[in-house]
Amino acid sequence: MKALRSFWLGILLLLCAASGAQAACNGFDLSKWTAQTAQEAGLCLADLPSSIGSCDSAICKSVREWQKPSDKRPPDVAMAPSLLARVRADMQPAVAAFPEAWRVDADMADFLLSFGQQTAPEFIANRKWSYDGAAGLLADGGGASLDLNAVLVKECAAGTPEAQCSEALRRAADVLIHTLQFQIVTTSLLNDQRAAFAQYMGELKGRWDSYFDKGRFQYPWELLINSRRYDRGGGGFAQPPDDQWILLHPSVGYRYLNGSGKKLEQTLLLEVAGYYRWEWAGAEATKLRGGSLVVSWADTATEFRRGIGFLVHMPKNYSLGLVQERGASNRKIALVMSLDLGKVVQDPKSQKASFLGAIR
């Protein structure tokens, strides 16, 4: 039994050792990186950008401290050129060991020369080196590129010694690490614009939520008409409208008729046509106003009455109006009040109470 356990333990250790021998590219001590095949080396490079945050070399630490100062200030843009120059200087041994990387180095030198005279975002994008893990390609926006996978495929071809493959991997990784540092710095140069756009999108979301959640409820046919009328007013993400049409909009209201016991009675309302508009202040709609032509039906204790009149739409989704009612008895003017149903359907039982509270 003991012999059997030792046997399986031995097998397990052998398996671990074998998998360890396949590829070792954990951590940032590149001297310990090894690979036997282009596939192993390619995966090591593909995973490198994901772990660059834990790079502990001096240049990585400098870039990280610049990008995320301990006092939570934004990166000091004025320091960027000298930092980029340090990244480039630190990369020189890597370039010396990997002659194909001269393009990256030359481009960085050119970038540093131009930087300061031209800091427009388009310029940064055009000159920003980045890594395409799928192709193993280091490339800049101008079309210059360095195919790291091609190097790995060549140096790690079947039959070549492991040392040759590992050395190619280490050289490629060294250039990649420096290029990623360059990219981190240039990406940070757009921090202000990025923050402004993220804030804009957050506010825009607030407006759209407001339009659908706090604006007047729309039935499908109203949504269709208002969609047809909607003018986006330019490219990109658009602002919500600042008005809406109301059409054949049934709702429930309350009528108050002098002499009918002076109490509120439920009535069915149909807004035949109407218009509602407002102004945006941040994510909030303000200065809401509008009105509708309305038809009403009510079954009172004594008779069935039909009315026609108007509603004035007020803030907080309340509407107030007058209808001229006809029934078995004389024509009478009734005061009608309504709540936008869409906003109270969560708790219809409380509609009357909240409505009364609002008009008092």
């Binding site: 893990g133 919500p240 069915l268």
Partner: protein, 360 residues
């Protein structure tokens, strides 16, 4: 930093946690490859679900509740004026209510520009905030999108807005196609062309927007790789099929790996060939996708050939059953010349002949 993969669901109800079935499908494919799977999928990628279903559900729920409320009030008022809203009653029922839980999503998205705009802004805001945070934390971004069915149209329309060069939003340049490129945009069962809107007000032609692959920081190209997968018998992908020729240009197609890849499959493991998981089972779909997400060296040609050899076209189905399904699906097939209005017929055929549900 981890590679962010935004997952975008298709039509239908998607409760919290819906993304796990997408991740599981990817994981099952990923785990077949020995060297690749030494690092678990969830370590290599951070999956970010982009949900928009709640916007449709909220609208439908409001319509249904209002309709019931009006109906009740009309009864109390002693009138029968509910023809307008009667058809909306029960729209919020989620069990076996395909018309409202699936078909209405597409209809609302296509017919109501206000809903479409809100959905795109809602999804776009999630992307922008996630990327801004990634850059703030890690100094650079690395992200991809995997979208399915209706999600392909949603993500196209969203990214077309994000990368619209006509946008005048503050700070937009930081999120221009040139400055914030995705690694991969993967479209599974792509209906973006079927649901596209290309009007003067909303000029987002799927073949002309920046949702197209190009080299690093290329102007007007929002991603490095665009991967398109369709099943030959998936009836939803046939009308106005996304199958461009020489798109976006020769250079992109000649790149290695090609920047635009179109894959067609015809395996039948179940009736619902539209299902995301069903697509992912096929090595012809998941190998090119994983290679683009990780590295072209991640899965060797030998591994790919072996996976293809092991893959059974009819899975565990008996030939007879598979042929029967194939025949039924072919009967449901529409013409490429048809437009989105034909979807209703497809749904009817699809739900009538097969099992309901499963539309991820």
């Amino acid at each position: 930093m981890s590679h962010l993969v935004f997952l975008v669901h298709g039509m239908g109800i998607h409760e919290t946690g819906w993304e796990s079935q997408y991740i599981d499908a990817l994981d099952a494919a990923y785990d077949q490859y020995e060297l690749l799977s030494q690092k678990p999928l969830r370590e290599r990628f951070t999956f970010v679900p982009l949900s928009y279903d709640e916007i449709f559900r909220e609208l439908v729920s409001n319509w249904a509740t209002n309709a019931e409320f009006v109906d009740r009030a009309a009864t109390e008022a002693g009138v029968s004026k509910t023809q307008l809203t009667g058809w909306l009653k029960g729209a919020d029922v989620t069990d076996a209510n395909f018309k409202w839980t699936h078909a209405a999503d597409v209809l609302m998205y296509k017919a109501f520009s206000l809903v479409r705009e809100r959905v795109c802004q809602h999804v776009g805001n999630q992307i922008v905030q996630a990327l801004a945070k990634q850059i703030q934390d890690e100094g650079r971004s690395l992200w991809s999108v995997v979208a399915h069915s209706l999600g392909t149209a949603v993500i196209h329309d969203t990214l077309a807005r994000l990368w619209d060069s006509q946008s005048t939003a503050p700070g937009h340049v930081a999120f221009s196609a040139q400055n914030e490129q995705a690694q991969v945009i993967a479209m599974v069962a792509n209906v973006s062309r079927l649901l596209e809107t290309k009007t003067a007000n909303e000029p987002y032609d799927v073949f002309k927007t920046a949702v197209a692959p190009g080299r690093m920081a290329q102007a007007g190209r929002g991603c490095l790789y665009y991967f398109n997968a369709r099943h030959r018998l998936d009836p939803f992908t046939i009308p106005k099929m996304f199958s461009p020729q020489m798109w976006p240009d020769e250079a992109a197609l000649l790149a290695s790996p090609p920047r635009y890849a179109h894959v067609e499959v015809d395996h039948i493991h179940m009736w619902n060939v539209h299902d995301f998981g069903h697509y992912m089972k096929n090595p012809k779909v998941h190998v090119p996708l994983l290679r683009r997400l990780v590295s072209s060296l991640a899965i060797t040609d030998e591994e790919y050939a072996m996976a293809l050899a092991k893959f059974r076209t009819f899975g565990s189905l008996q030939d007879e059953a598979a042929i029967r399904i194939r025949q039924k699906l072919e009967d449901a097939t529409e013409s490429q010349a048809d437009d989105w209005l034909v979807l209703g017929r497809i749904w009817q055929a699809f739900t009538g002949k097969g099992q309901s549900g499963g539309f991820a």
